[in-house]
Assembly symmetry: C2
Homo-oligomer: 227 residues x 2
């Protein structure tokens, strides 16, 4: 496998990047099952997308496949992680420590994919000082001071909707570069700050729409509407 940077990695479209996340989920499952090699067709069948699409996406990562042999699971895993930028650790803060935050803190996937929640914040005196999963909940009033000493790049916002914009504004001012927002509001951020919003209602609406229209032509990749 080539160790040089893929020449096109900074030009990947968001659609491609989203599919790479899906490929990575497959590869991780195969790795656990001991599948060392696979063809683009294997990945295409597993996700229900075309072989041509898989080959086109993987071609953008460089010449990783070998004719007649296919791809090596571990090599492609490493390369996708590198291209997505998760071959390093991303330090994240979490703001608003209710049930959702507690569920996310116990979620295996984050740490395994290079996301380390290094600071928890809440504004409620009842919660400040509490320790969850080995991490202390700090007073949100201390955010700016703490981030000066211990910078972070990402924030996970799990506060109620009405509080979310003010929290986001303070995170932006404190230098956060990207926000994963779970509050059911449309945050407005400067263009330099990236935003991904998880809106459970939209997901459930889309499920209802598909059930109502009786769409039976779905592909496994459609089950991950980010793509």
């Amino acid at each position: 496998m080539s160790k040089s940077p893929s020449p096109h990695s900074d030009r990947l479209s968001r659609a491609t990047a989203s599919r790479l996340s899906l490929y990575l989920r497959c590869l991780e499952a195969w790795h656990r099952e001991g599948v060392a090699r696979f063809s683009s067709g294997d990945l295409a069948r597993e996700l229900g997308i075309t072989d041509a699409q898989v080959r086109k996406d993987l071609a953008q990562l460089g010449n990783l496949g070998q004719r007649g042999i296919g791809y090596t699971t571990i090599d492609l895993t490493v390369e996708i992680r590198r291209v997505l930028g998760i071959d390093r650790t991303w330090r994240a803060a979490m703001v608003g420590i209710g049930n959702l935050a507690r569920a996310l803190l116990r979620y295996d996937g984050f740490q395994a994919h290079g996301f380390e929640v290094v600071a928890l914040y809440d504004a409620s005196p009842d919660k400040i000082g509490e320790i969850i999963e080995g991490k202390t909940i700090y007073d949100f009033a201390m955010l700016e001071d703490q981030l000066l000493v211990q910078p972070i790049e990402l924030a996970i916002v799990t506060v109620p909707g009405p509080a979310a914009q003010a929290v986001a504004d303070r995170l932006v001012n404190a230098g956060v570069k990207g926000i994963l927002n779970f509050a059911p509001v449309m945050l407005k951020l400067p263009v330099r700050v990236q935003l991904v919003t998880v809106d459970f209602t939209i997901q459930l609406e889309q499920l209802a729409f598909r059930v109502q229209t009786g769409d039976d032509d779905h592909r496994l990749s459609d089950a991950y509407p980010i793509v």
Copy 2:
């Protein structure tokens, strides 16, 4: 506003249906703020997508806009809800009652959008019989018997990954038509059963990718990667 069914409603693409969910979020916010009328341009600016795209999407709902006047917030809200199939109540079961389920049960959006969680299930003797948000947790062993008496269409799966496929199989056999899956696994379901998976790791990976590539051309609608 026309009360007749939109002739094209069953042919809406998933991309259009996803944007309709976003439009609906905007309209609901405007309704709360007392905005009674708006133009396609207002919606386009709010979401950062093109006016042409908004007009094309809304044209598929019928002739709801009036030249020089624009759209009526409440009328379009009603119509989008009808087309998405959320002008009715969807009965849902939730399986696996941990922190995530508790957060979702307290999430305002579901009930407000016609999703009523009518049954909670867990397999843990510690939890069976507990009442959360006025709902009793039942033994998952009783699923099939209860759904015979009280059918539901949707299920929200919040069990750990290793348990998810077996839970999904039983839900499918019990007649569930759509599953919102929060377990970090790729469920395999018969094509007649719709699936939407919420994978927090994918969302966080996509955020990291955008921060790493320094994409500063993002649109508000991009913050909802379902579109």
